[in-house]
Amino acid sequence: MIRTRNLWITVLLLWSLAPLLWQLYTSFCSNESLIHTFATHQHRWTLENYRQVLTANPPFWRYLLNSAFVGISSTGLTLLLAIPAAYSLVKVPRNFARGARLFLLGAALFPYVLLFLALLEIARSLNLGNNLLALSFPYAALSMPLAVLLLSSAFRDLPSEIEEAARLEGLGLWQRLRWVLIPLIGPATASTAILVFLFSWNEYPIALTWISTTDLLTLPVAIARIAGSSVYSIPYGAYAAATVLGSLPLLLLVIIFQRQIVSGLTQGAIKG
């Protein structure tokens, strides 16, 4: 029993990690050695790929900063709007709330790629192109359905007596949110924040169409641009180095916030 389980665990780890390890391996290989993978080489190992990526113009960490900036601003904007909305969804009449939840679920399911063209038109007419801060508006809107669903189920799970006790103590709406309710949904807020951040960090089609200045590209677009440079000869070594560098922040994020991510996703599954 246990031996077969260990076998399956090994398979699972291999399946999850092998493609990533291959990128890691590639990133340290010289271009010549990549042409014959299994042959032996004199000059296989090199840091040249990393040097190339980090000294490019703009240097690679620039994209990481851009993505981090967009991620943080969209997360902030999402929470700012989603927390009051989620709270009020618990307080409105039940039938209205049920309808709203169904609508939000539909919006969360919506393949948002289909929106890119009209969003691009909006960006052009409002002159929001090539503006990282402006990107957080569509990102916040696209994350909003899931965020409101997650947070409102957290509010709903709070015993109503807690808020009533606060009311009797004389706390107004804002004070109740500030001193009692928001601190109590802290874990759900953290899960929501991390999911929104991941979405914004990884989003591609809107960033692709809204941002054209090289200095402002987010990580996914920057990496795809490397691929677009030539269809036939992609600098795989340099690219793999970029992949590894681009994955490291997320690796840390997943390891640190693993519990929040899991509870966010599973809460979404249970309550959605």
Binding site: E161, A165, L168, E169
Partner: protein, 327 residues
């Protein structure tokens, strides 16, 4: 009368969960609302607190009509069934939060919190969070918070039901002393008749959103106005015997006596209660509960009798009293 409810009603959808409720509580009086779950006793409490709005009727506190006044301005000291302590704050912070939003100065806050902690013997727990406290300690924190409100009315919603049976009995005298010490009216909701009798000057028995009977524990026991109150008050439960011409005869288990000629019965179950024992008997007129002395032995032929003076008579259709026992 310092708390008056006049013809209070509350509707959810089409159902009246509380209706035609008429109640007066005097200064320094503890009134218990007693009834089965879903009878509207907690809803009544929420109406008094202002957590829900009454759909009809008027509420007066100290002569002032507060029917549409917000919960804060009614000055209510409430203890919830779950205590509703703020789990992310320490005991001292829990107590200080209300003082802070009510704009007490920092030194004033500290002074008041310190003195209430002292009164409740909670000084050692000031920096702990609710999760680190025992059930009894949590109840004291909840009570301390209510006392700090300096309230005009105390409302307690099943404050004992989260505690184990022994602790419940131990805490009753202390709780009663604390809630009555300011001489304010107290409304105490419970489903436990022993607790109601121990805590309250008067008891209001509720059923289906209406007050069935209000009176002292003795009145409820000896002069129940309906079969519902008669069966709800007093354990073991009163025996209800259908009699001729639409009458129900009710007789307390302790008033049944063994005799040589009377109602013939068969013993089907026996419970030992220490100084007494409970017999469950099968008779031609239905099942009977009888309370008898602990040393009574079971006779070969069980026959029962009782004094007609001890009979309560009720109308079979309405369930309402038609004659008091003439004791």
């Amino acid at each position: 009368m310092s708390l008056i409810l006049e013809n209070i009603g509350r509707r959810v959808g089409r159902n009246w969960i509380v209706r035609h409720l008429q109640l007066e509580v005097a200064e320094g009086e503890c009134l218990a609302l007693l009834g089965p779950s879903g009878c509207g006793k907690s809803s009544t409490l929420r109406l008094i607190a202002g957590l829900d709005q009454a759909d009809e009727g008027t509420i007066f506190i100290k002569g002032k009509d507060v029917t549409t006044v917000s919960p804060v301005d009614r000055r209510i000291g409430m203890v919830f069934q779950s205590y509703a302590l703020f789990p992310h704050l320490t005991v001292a912070e829990n107590l200080a939060l209300g003082l802070r939003v009510r704009k007490f100065s920092a030194t004033d806050q500290q002074k008041r919190v310190a003195s209430i902690l002292n009164l409740m013997q909670l000084e050692d727990h000031a920096r702990q969070r609710p999760a680190q406290l025992s059930g009894g300690q949590r109840q004291r924190v909840a009570l301390a918070r209510a006392l700090l409100r300096d309230p005009l009315v105390y409302l307690l919603d099943e404050p004992m039901s989260n505690l184990d049976a022994q602790l419940r009995e131990d805490l009753r005298p202390e709780l009663r002393r604390l809630i009555l010490k300011d001489g304010q009216p107290v409304v105490y909701v419970t489903h436990d008749q022993h607790e109601a009798m121990a805590m309250a000057h008067r008891i209001g028995v509720m059923r289906d959103g209406q007050l069935e009977q209000v009176g002292s524990p003795q009145e409820l026991y000896h002069q129940p106005t309906s079969t519902f109150v008669a069966s709800f008050i007093g354990r073991p439960q009163i025996n209800l015997l259908p009699a001729e011409s639409g009458i129900i005869k009710a007789i307390r288990p302790e008033d049944l006596k063994l005799s040589s000629q009377g109602l013939p019965c068969r013993l089907i179950h026996r419970e030992w209660l220490g100084t007494s024992q409970l017999w469950l008997l099968e008779s031609p007129r239905g099942q009977l509960r009888m309370l008898t002395a602990g040393d009574t032995s079971i006779p070969a032929n069980i026959q029962l009798e009782w004094s007609t003076k001890k009979e309560h008579l009720f109308d079979a259709n309405s369930g309402l009293r038609s004659k008091y026992p003439t004791s």
